[in-house]
């Protein structure tokens, strides 16, 4: 559990910005892992897009080349 009191104060911007970079990197990996699992579980790109709050095209463009698994057939 993240303790919000431990978040670096704005008077230490170097540490705070380093945390931002590390969080983005972690979020990117978590997203890739979760999308790959969703596709393996049979989710459609529409469902993935809905969960991520992006368009189906954006989800597909961002993740399709990165996963070797194929989603179940989607109805147009």
């Amino acid at each position: 559990m993240v303790n919000l009191n431990e978040i670096p104060p704005p008077d230490d911007p170097a540490e705070a910005l380093a945390a931002v970079i590390a969080l983005r990197r972690l979020a990117d990996r978590l997203e890739r892992a979760a999308v790959a699992q969703a596709i393996r579980d049979g989710w459609t790109w529409q469902q993935v897009a809905e969960a991520l709050g992006v368009t189906r095209q954006a989800a597909h463009k961002h993740h399709a080349q990165r996963t070797t698994d194929h989603p179940r057939k989607e109805t147009p």
């Binding site: 559990m1 993240v2 303790n3 431990e6 978040i7 670096p8 170097a14 540490e15 910005l17 380093a18 945390a19 970079i21 590390a22 969080l23 990197r25 972690l26 990117d28 990996r29 978590l30 890739r32 892992a33 999308v35 790959a36 699992q37 393996r40 080349q65 990165r66 996963t67 070797t68 698994d69």
Partner: protein, 172 residues
Amino acid sequence: MRLPNPVREIRTINRLLTGAEAEANKAGEIMPGAEHLLLSALALPDGSARRAFERLGADPDELRSAIASQYADALRAIGIEPVSDDALNAAAGAGVTSGKGVFRSTASAQTVFRAAVDLAKTERPSRLVGAHVVAAVARMEHGTAARALRVMRIDRHALAAAAAQELDAGRT
């Protein structure tokens, strides 16, 4: 007198950029950053980047783990216990690739590459070597590469001086 060798220069640049991309992809990232250029420079056959580190008593092979450490430290600083990259990359399935075509990199990599090439151009004849990349990275005060050097207890000014010494030694 040594004559400029454009073919060798292109080969070095190609090696440097391809290597940086491979390092980034290996780490699960699409575009290389300054830290990946530095890792790639350490693998260049001229050996000057490695020798610059060794002049300070630092082990260049520790850079990769230092990069990972600084990410972990940054997460711990805000109370998040880091998850291993290997575990997340494995869960993501397919590896990351940069795709074919134009070389794309982060702003930090572009800055370092430009600075390294500019430094190389000051030499007569111009010849890009790994120590130019080290010198360019040593100019950076912030960012992943700078933090990784601090994890290795490397002072960036001392590293810049070591890179300059390497370049001097290469001229003689």
